[in-house]
């Protein structure tokens, strides 16, 4: 087994997710079988192979630094779960 329940809890904390005990058990076993499957990658000799992150050769897309019309504050705030004035409201951060 690659992944213990404790590690599942650790990864969940990194990902800002929480699970019930039952979900933790299920995920531990499912994630382990997926990771076992991925072990086949170790059979491939990749020494000296450059990792591919984009399939198409891209050049950096520079553009001129000009000001253009952006969203109006009331548009930007429209989907907020909670707002006050033109600000997004969240639970208190500082004691």
């Amino acid at each position: 087994m690659k992944l213990t329940k404790a590690e599942v809890e650790y990864v969940a904390a990194l990902a800002r997710l929480e699970f019930s005990e039952e979900e933790k058990e299920k995920f531990t076993s499912q994630l382990n079988s997926i990771l076992d499957y991925m072990d086949m990658l170790n059979r491939v000799d990749t020494s000296g192979v450059v990792p591919e992150t984009h399939a198409i050769t891209l050049r950096n897309a520079f553009r001129d630094d000009v000001v253009w019309k952006s969203l109006e504050p009331e548009e930007a705030i429209k989907n907020a779960p909670e707002e006050r004035g033109s600000c997004f409201r969240v639970p208190r951060v500082i004691e």
């Binding site: 992944l3 590690e7 599942v8 990864v11 969940a12 990194l14 990902a15 800002r16 997710l17 929480e18 699970f19 979900e23 995920f27 499912q30 994630l31 079988s33 997926i34 990771l35 499957y37 991925m38 086949m40 990658l41 170790n42 491939v44 990749t46 192979v49 450059v50 990792p51 591919e52 992150t53 984009h54 399939a55 198409i56 891209l58 950096n60 897309a61 553009r63 969203l71 548009e75 930007a76 429209k78 989907n79 907020a80 779960p81 909670e82 997004f88 969240v90 639970p91 208190r92 951060v93």
Partner: protein, 487 residues
């Protein structure tokens, strides 16, 4: 039997509109009557846009009368609910975006609107496009129009089913590992994933940014060309869209393929394909040969690693992309959090479904300290080898031929408990995303049970024209009678 308006192709309707045989309002009305009649059983749509569509059809009729019609004027088109539509709810199949009304249009949506298309609604999909069956949607499952007990494929299952069932004339989907081609195959329609960078991703809700691409679902190759013409091209708002020339894809329709070489990868014939699917593929290759094309044996040696590479890279990118759903600026926020961290945790845990969480977990693990080299870096290196396999193969052939999916549509619930089995249904489609090449699925016949089967054609970067040409040649010389689902 003559096809009803809702069962027609774009080019047939264009002709009828041009001659004044029919109005855009009549076509739109026919499509909405069809939606009313069948969508209760199929559930292709999350949102139906009846009022705005009717208004849009009226404007299309005015444009036609004024002689200002474009290729899509008055054509009812559905859009996968992963593409932002200004002021129209866009859920991505997730609870976390249940109340999200985008303040802007995706570039493809803007292009459809500017082209006069009538957007009929937003189609159902696997949550965040993570799935191969449209069963992970928060808004319920979509059923395959050919057999309501079966899945339509996924993740763009709603877009595929809507075209198959006559609930729109064409639609848009997105394809990260086969999410256009596999449902196209399972629903008996044409579906294309263009080259990475061919179509702007601006306003496409991100799943795996190095793999995602938008493409068309249509009833034939000519319609695929028409819709691709309308959506492709460089967009300064997507820095990964590629500034290369875009040909008129319609000019490839009906051209002959004499002397072409079709490569059949030997690795694809041993992966447990349903014998009926393999038989239908052979029949199509026979058609190609009868048209003067040649079959060549090719090898894609790293084929067996594609699924493993994909299920490291896609979740890794997803775990990063989906970090934005924190309940602050938009999306679901859990009502009972006492502090900020708890608000993030609870909002995400209540807002995301199981498959999305599973992939965020895999991705977070693969990128976490100590495992990055073993998983993400290793997978990215094997991705390089997969891309090289294709470069090598395209020296020997014009187009590669494979089945689109190993089987026809499977039953609802058949693979939901075994994520790995579900992932393996993408085995033939994933490699094109990893290599960034274009692929098309075109119908190649039916199984004994009457389920449609698709053939996949792959070409080199920016060679979509070849795919249109080959698919149209196959279509015009098909050995099977085209059917419609009995609904």
């Amino acid at each position: 039997m003559a096809a009803g308006l809702h069962e027609s192709t774009i080019h047939e309707l264009q002709e009828k509109l041009r001659r004044g045989d029919v109005t855009a309002s009549e076509i739109t009305e026919a499509v909405f009557s069809r939606i009313e009649a069948v969508d209760g059983r199929i559930k292709s749509f999350i949102t139906i846009m009846r009022d705005s569509a009717a208004a849009c059809a009226r404007r299309a009729d005015e444009a036609i009368r004024a002689g200002k019609a474009g290729p899509l004027t008055g054509i009812p088109i559905a859009v996968k609910d992963i593409m932002c539509t200004k002021g129209v709810r866009t859920t991505c199949g997730s609870r976390i975006l249940e109340n999200f009304f985008p303040p802007y249009d995706a570039t493809v949506v803007r292009k459809l609107k500017e082209g006069g298309a009538v957007i009929v609604g937003k189609t159902n999909m696997d949550e965040f496009a993570m799935g191969s069956s449209t069963e992970t949607s928060f808004y319920g499952i979509t059923r395959n129009p050919w057999d309501l007990g079966r899945i339509p494929g996924g993740s763009s299952g709603g877009s595929a089913a809507a075209v198959a069932a006559g609930e729109c004339i064409a639609s848009l989907g997105s394809d990260t590992g086969g999410s256009i081609r596999q449902p196209a195959s399972l629903c008996g329609v044409v579906g294309m994933k263009p080259t990475y960078g061919r179509v702007s991703r601006y306003g496409l809700i991100a799943f795996a940014s190095s793999l995602d691409q938008i493409g068309p679902f249509t009833r034939d190759a000519e319609d695929c060309a028409i819709l691709l013409n309308a959506i492709c091209g460089y967009d300064p708002l997507d820095s990964t869209s590629v500034p290369v020339e875009t040909p008129d894809y319609r000019s490839f329709v009906g051209k002959d393929i004499k002397g072409w070489k079709f490569g059949v990868p030997r690795e694809y014939l041993i992966e447990g394909i349903d014998p009926e699917v393999a038989g239908l593929m052979e029949e199509s290759i026979g058609v190609l040969e009868s048209l003067g094309a040649e079959r060549v044996d090719i090898s894609l040696p790293h084929t067996e690693y594609c699924v493993a590479v994909y299920y490291v890279i896609a979740p890794a990118e997803a775990s990063s992309n989906l970090a934005r759903y924190d309940g602050v600026k938009y999306g679901y926020r859990s009502p009972d959090a006492r502090d900020l961290i708890e608000m993030y945790r609870k909002s995400r845990s209540e807002g995301f479904g199981a498959e999305v969480k599973r992939r965020i977990m895999i991705g977070t693990y693969a990128l976490s300290s100590g495992y990055y080299d073993a998983y993400y870096k290793k997978a990215s290196q094997v991705r390089t080898l997969i891309k090289r396999d294709f470069e090598e193969a395209f020296r020997k052939c014009d187009v590669i031929v494979t089945p689109t999916a190993p089987t026809a549509a499977f039953r609802i619930g058949e693979k939901t408990d075994d994520p790995l089995q579900m992932y393996l249904s993408d085995i033939f489609t994933i490699s094109a995303n990893l290599a960034g090449i274009p692929g098309i699925s075109t119908p190649c016949g039916y199984t004994g049970k009457g389920l449609p089967v698709g053939l996949q054609l792959l070409a080199g970067h920016f060679q979509e024209g070849k795919l249109i040409q080959a698919a149209s040649a196959l279509e015009r010389n098909a050995k099977f009678e085209k059917r419609r689902p009995a609904l």
